[in-house]
Amino acid sequence: MGNRLRANGVALITYVLLAITAFIVLLPIFWMLSTSLKTPREVFQLPIEWIPSDPVWSNYPEAYDRIDFTRYFLNSMIVAGGVTILHVLLATMAGYGLAKYRFGGRQVLLLAIIATLVLPLEVIMIPLFLTVQDLGWLNTYQGLIVPVLADAFGVFLMRQYFLSLPNALIEAARIDGAGHVRTFFTIGIPLAWPAIATLAIFIFRETWDDFLWPLLIVTSSEMRTVPLGVRSFESAELSNFPQIMAISTIATIPLLILFFAFQRQFVRGIAMTGLRE
């Protein structure tokens, strides 16, 4: 009995702590939503009207129309989609090669690639900008896509996953006379599907959300991605808080949908950054 009581006590404390945390954590988000439905004059009125009695829904279409949001959204789709498809393919190939073949220098190669995990964009942004400028890729999709593909996390992730898979199926395919490339596409990729899905969601999110790289190489307004669009809106509107919050909410929705649609992959991708030691 005593044990039971204690267990209940622990559960109660856990609930209370979690409820307080959730409350604090969600308050800014709730304020963002509620502000997005107010007039500028109502923003700082006290007491706070959490659910506006007269919601200004028009903030949303007005904010949306004030910038070329559709264009930014398409740009983001092209960039994030392109990076995801290409990176997943290249990283899966590399992971497969590193895990399933033994060739001279592969350890060095792997270490060199993994070492770039501690090399943030902030350190190489100047030479990388010059490289892309030399290639004539400023304000282009290839400029936004190609340099981003060289990311070590995916290579490492796929290598680990392939290492954990048995060779039997690959072996069988090879004995049946399938070539290396065919074996990779017909056996390797299907086997690695769970890891590929996780990586794809992870990379899509990272690329969609990236602000710094587009900021460096995009100057023309028609090449802006969503984060750049939000930023330019915010600098232009300064204290039109309702519409700034409206555009912020609009920018959040795609990521929210992605999160709820692929919750498992989404969370696993983050958990797996824990694997990269």
């Binding site: 060739f103 350890q107 964009l121 190489i124 290492l163 920018a251 999160f259």
Partner: protein
Amino acid sequence: MTAVPAGRRRFAGLGKRARRSWLGPRQPYWGLLFVLPILVLFIVFKFLPILRAGYLSLTEYNPLERVETFVGFSNYTTLVGDAAFLNSLRVTMTYVVGTVTPLVVLSLGLALLLNQKIRGRGLFRVLIFLPAVIPIIVVPILWRFMYHPFGLVNTGIELFGLEGVNWLQSKDAVIPGFIIASEWRFVPLFMIIYLAGLQSIPEDLYDAAKVDGASTVQRFINVTIPLLKPTILVVVVVAVTFTAKTLVLALVMTNGGPDNASRTLSLFIYEMGFRFFRLGYASAAAMVLLVIIVVFTLINLRVFRTDD
């Protein structure tokens, strides 16, 4: 069993399974062919740029004619005497230590709570995770709004009868302001890493400890913490790398102000490079940032590895 040289055994993971791989010795060049496409990208967009950053840091760059003149280590000697640079180092250090310390503790605490077998924890996990879903560009925008003199943070403070703070206009409050916003954003992320670590601890270890009469606290100290060590290492390394490079927060929230109080090292690099076009000088500062991150990562690997 063939004897494996001790040095090679350390490439764990590559262990026996890979060694036995039948594909291996026969057509090794195919392995390289699979790696080659991404390797080329790594060379062009990672390895060469880092070399170029090192070289640029030894030059003075003329942006009009796009030529660089070799100047030896003079950029570095200038850095050492540059008050703005030293200030940015100090700002970055304060921000990193101030953010990472509570982050490591808070996200572990939250992970422990969410690891309890209670009803509704799935819902709590989703709710508490939400700040990590908000776009990274929205975080500074939202928090600048939160820190408005009449914003929600001050409204909350005044509710307790205390005086509001002019967060982003005050030299002393701006970095604490950054830290709170960063905790809000990062705790949910690192909580997930901790949860993964906690769930990898076998249940029967706790049962065994229970049978031996260990209390909850003892189980935490003797089972959870030692087994969680690799996870803590990852959290610290990732958190330091995350925070040491921080640029977007400073750029969007305060642009380094007030009076340089939030001009982080990477903002210094960004402005030197992309506003004043002093690419050589900016690169020297970037090399300092790299050295800080690398040294710190190595120290951590050491500290957490030795007594394994």
